[in-house]
């Protein structure tokens, strides 16, 4: 075996026998389960997300109270009818504060004009609020129609809403119905895939950074360099850990396919269309590219870092580029072809994640895909070359906290 091969094998062994590796390999499939089966499960049965505590109402007539009861009943909640006296209201507010009631709806005599009040502890249960608001509105509308003397049938006819059907269209103008849930399932899938890429890129990047720093801190680097060149050491570490990452992805991709093709149909659930063989292949491609890009960066800062905490500080500029696409993910899903999406899907530091989202939502123009891959490969090449220079100088440097500026100088000097 060549020396490079020896290093790759050793680093692979160290990485794959690692606790984090095993844990992540086990947790990964659950994440995949979440993106393959859960969305289907959710859309099939909205009650999955329901189940809440009771809500009290004070005031209003029987009509509005039963409208309320029906509305919150869809969430599996019970309605508690209270008297209109101050004592019961005060007691109910206490119960809301303590958590015995989820909310208290207070309707005074003129609620149809002045509006009602809902008392809640958290103020975050937006679905409940809109259910209450809708049912109050419906009751008030009926009452106003009756009062105005307009024929109720006519009034309903006037207020009828226009229905919009959502139909997907393929390249060959083929129509695809029933994609109302597309946003949610695509978002779920994109979230799952992006989380995987994000987590593994950071994980493997940091593993490489730490592995390099430890080589310095434990003083093994001098012995290593008496046998191999610094370039062999760096590339050996990157490839060894990269193989471990690829193995993990292989396991996950296999699981995802088994789950979506076998388990989901068996349970009678449709797996999201986005979890396809082609998209999983793209996931692996973008992981490999993101891995090499960030691995080179982490190898360089690992060599320049004094110890692990210093490594953490130096890693910030890299992390920011990984976090940006993560926080903007829903905007990329909704607008995969906006200028911002296109720009960030071409910019190499963010493109692996952003382009993957675009591929999942709607296939981007071929030239953009080609440009993205071309830029990425070129950037990886440049990053590796720069990292090798930083690595060569940094790996033997001790007793000094290198700054990013100095690292830049090493790149231009050598």
């Amino acid at each position: 075996m060549t020396k490079l091969g020896t290093i790759i094998r050793q680093e692979f062994k160290v990485a794959a026998a690692n606790k984090t590796f095993i844990i992540l390999t086990i947790i990964g499939p659950f994440l995949i389960l979440a993106i393959t089966v859960l969305p289907g499960l959710l859309s099939m049965n909205p009650k999955v997300s329901s189940g809440g505590g009771p809500v009290a109402v004070s005031g209003g007539d029987a009509a509005v109270q039963s409208a309320l009861e029906a509305a919150i009943g869809t969430q599996g909640r019970k309605l508690v009818r209270l008297g209109e006296d101050d004592a019961s209201r005060t007691q109910a507010k206490l119960d809301v504060g303590k958590g015995g009631l989820d909310a208290l709806v207070v309707l005074d005599g003129d609620w149809m004009d002045q509006g009602g009040t809902i008392y809640t502890k958290t103020g975050t249960d937006a679905i409940l609020f809109s259910l209450v608001e809708q049912s109050l509105g419906a009751v008030a509308r009926e009452a106003r129609i009756a009062k105005s003397g307009i024929d109720p049938a006519l009034a309903r006819e006037l207020a009828r809403e226009v229905k919009l059907s959502i139909v997907g269209v393929g390249k060959d103008a083929s129509e695809k119905k029933g994609i109302e849930d597309a946003f949610m399932t695509t978002l779920f899938t994109a979230m799952g895939f992006v989380m995987l890429i994000y987590m593994t890129t950071i994980l493997y990047g940091q593993l490489i950074g730490r592995s390099v720093v430890q080589e310095k801190v434990s003083k093994t680097v001098e012995v290593m360099l008496s046998s191999v060149s610094s370039r062999e050491l760096m590339i050996g570490k990157i490839l060894g850990l990269g193989l471990a990452g690829l193995l993990q992805y292989g396991v996950w991709a296999g699981m995802a396919l088994v789950l979506s093709k076998l388990l989901a149909p068996a349970l009678g659930i449709a797996a999201p269309a986005a979890v396809s063989l082609g998209n999983i292949a793209w996931l692996v491609v973008f992981f490999v590219l993101a891995f090499f890009l960030y691995a080179a960066g982490y190898a360089a800062i690992g060599a320049a870092a004094e110890d692990e905490s210093h490594l953490g500080q130096l890693a910030w500029p890299l992390l920011i580029f990984l976090i940006i696409p993560l926080v903007m993910i829903s905007s990329f899903v909704m607008n995969p072809n906006s200028t911002l999406s296109v720009l960030l899907s071409l910019f190499p530091m963010t493109s692996p994640i952003v382009m993957l989202i675009r591929v999942l939502v709607s296939p981007p123009p071929l030239w953009q895909l080609a440009l993205c891959l071309g830029l990425l490969v070129a950037t990886i090449y440049a990053m590796m070359a720069a990292a090798a220079k930083i690595f060569r100088v940094g790996i033997l440097m001790t007793g000094k906290r290198t700054t990013l500026k100095e690292m830049m100088r090493w790149i231009s000097a050598a």
Binding site: E222, V223, S227
Partner: protein
């Protein structure tokens, strides 16, 4: 044969190695000695092709240094380090594989060496379980497991108990006997004195003196006389032919002025104290070192005798 010719290496503000030339021959132990910061580690790193010299040439058996030559070199750095989580035998096999050794040969060699250093029972244990001394021995094995033709030992004896020191000493002498070139870097003069055939004393990257141990001592030291006695010898310092004296209640060491015979001192002592031992000694390498490095420091007006090299390079050579 390892030969360096006019090797120069500068870091940003400091010339770490400044025109160094020497030869280390097969079957000889060559001592590279000097104070901290003299440029020893930089020199060794250049020999190993880890860093490149700015100018000058480094050759081994006439060949310029290359990555391929690394397989014929063994290196024991001063700051020891092994992978803590790796098992003893696996570590040795890994180091041997990186020297291009095939696995079976490496396994056999590892067995022999572990046996010899009394570590055979530990071969399946993780390195973090070893004591510091054991790890030192293991690291030594790692530097010679592939039977290198050139070995570089940086302070090989530090941190070892006397028994381990003897084991190591024996192994080093055996390498010499088998015609290996041994380069030995230290600032502990007693070790250099016991082991080295020839030495090169450097300071601030430059040669102060070189040659066989006898030549160096003859050229740069002065005989000293040690006396053990009973009585009061406080008058010694005042004698006209005494250049320097260190007097303790029952022991003294004297350097005489040039041209004075030891007899004269003996005569002066004989009547006044009871002499128990009187010995004319060649100077120790230690005193040569102190004298040469001290003199050089005085010329520079630098009392430390070392040089701060700005933290640019590992600051410990």
């Amino acid at each position: 044969m390892l030969s360096l010719e006019n090797v120069i290496k500068s870091y940003e503000t400091v010339r770490a190695v400044d025109g160094l030339s020497f030869e280390a021959r097969p079957g000889e132990i060559f001592g590279l000695i000097g104070p901290n910061g003299a440029g020893k580690s930089t020199t060794i790193r250049m020999i190993m092709n880890v860093i490149a010299p700015d100018s000058g040439s480094i050759r081994f058996d006439g060949e310029p240094f290359s990555e391929a030559l690394k397989d014929r070199i063994g290196y024991l750095p001063e700051e020891r380090g092994l992978y803590r989580k790796v098992k003893v035998e696996d570590m040795l096999l890994y180091l041997a594989a990186l020297k291009g050794m095939d696995r079976e040969a490496a396994r056999a060699s590892a067995r022999v060496w572990l046996e010899r250093f009394d570590l055979a029972d530990w071969k399946g244990r993780k390195i973090e379980e070893l004591s510091k001394g054991m790890a030192q021995k293991l690291q030594f094995i790692g530097s010679v497991i592939h039977d290198p033709d050139l070995v570089l030992f940086d302070e090989p004896f530090s941190g070892l108990d006397p028994i381990s020191q003897d084991l190591l000493l024996e192994a080093v002498l055996e390498l010499k006997k088998r015609g290996k070139t041994v380069l030995f870097s230290t600032h502990v003069m007693e070790h250099a004195e016991k082991l080295c055939d020839r030495i090169l004393l450097i300071r601030k990257g430059r040669e102060l003196v070189s040659g066989s141990l006898a030549e160096v001592k003859a050229g740069h030291g002065q005989d000293a006389i040690q006396v053990e006695f009973d009585g009061d010898a406080s008058f010694i310092g005042g004698l006209p032919f005494v250049a320097a004296a260190r007097t303790y209640p029952r022991w003294l060491e004297v350097e005489l002025r040039e041209g004075t015979e030891a007899d004269e001192l003996f005569r002066a002592l004989a009547g006044r104290v009871h002499v128990r031992r009187f010995e004319v000694m060649s100077p120790s390498l230690h005193s040569v070192f102190v004298r040469l490095v001290g003199d050089a420091a005085q010329v520079d007006g630098d009392a430390q005798g070392g040089v701060a090299n700005g933290g640019k390079e590992a600051s410990r050579d």
